[in-house]
Symmetry: C2
Subunit: 160 residues, 2 copies
């Protein structure tokens, strides 16, 4: 596989290293959040979005867009978080289809508790390992790739 299919072996190694990096950092964050505040990374992302939002509340659709998630994922996630008291759900008065997702006091506490360890873990596993040049390069790479993702999956051939 490495040398087959016209892919530069060095690129292949790079891809595996990228995968390992992301897996490691994600795992560290997950464990830390779980231990500090008993929440998952997905929980934390939702709490952060709500904490950043005006009035600590977002429409479900806006939340989905902010996180780049599917709407059904938001729905499941918010239901589970509401069951645990991390968020509240309120019907939207102006659009009866809509739902407001509101940060609860419990959720705000959990977020405050978790944030510190989250940043610390990120600092320890990621940033502390990178100098200014590394960071600049990393941002260049990430920006270039995400830009390209807007052009969707053309030229794909269905084999079955």
């Amino acid at each position: 596989m490495s040398e087959a299919m016209g892919l530069d072996p060095a690129d292949w190694v790079m891809w595996r290293e990228m995968t390992a990096m992301r897996a490691g950092v994600d795992r560290a964050l997950e464990h830390r959040l779980q231990r500090d505040a008993g929440i998952s990374a997905a929980d934390f992302d939702v709490l952060r979005s709500l904490a950043d939002a005006e009035g600590h509340r977002l429409r479900a659709g806006a939340l989905a867009e902010a996180l780049g998630w599917e709407k059904s994922r938001i729905s499941h996630q918010v239901r589970r978080m509401a069951d645990r008291g991390l968020v509240d759900r309120q019907d939207c008065p102006t659009d009866l289809r809509g739902t407001w997702v509101v940060l609860s006091e419990t959720g705000a506490d959990a977020f405050a508790t978790a944030s510190c360890g989250y940043v610390e873990t990120l600092e320890r596993t990621l940033f502390s390992r990178l100098d200014a040049d590394d960071r600049a390069a990393m941002r260049r790479v990430a920006a270039a790739v995400t830009d390209g993702l807007l052009a969707p999956d053309v030229q794909a051939f269905p084999t079955r």
Copy 2:
């Protein structure tokens, strides 16, 4: 959140961009594999490991180590793949606890079908966006971070 907790805003942006990059590339790969060969990224990783292995077979533990997965994950994954005929399971004669995971003909076919689109998607979404400097920087970053991951979660303070 962005400016709070002593994290450089630029670092924060970098982290979000990294997350978006990985999510986008992963998503593109998943969809492509599903469409081309009806398999998931996890399936593909297993098939690739087996295809690379001597005799197209690996012990479950070796597979777990090669992929950096938990043993139970391997067990579940292999069971599902065996149900679909992508791999075969054989008892190990020399160590009766052990299990050989063997690439089946169906699995080899699926891997061959999938590989091309996989590499092509990776090329399109990732490598085509990066010049030689970017790739070198990316490898430097990934290596530095994964190195740091070996030192486990010290200095963590339980907040609850």
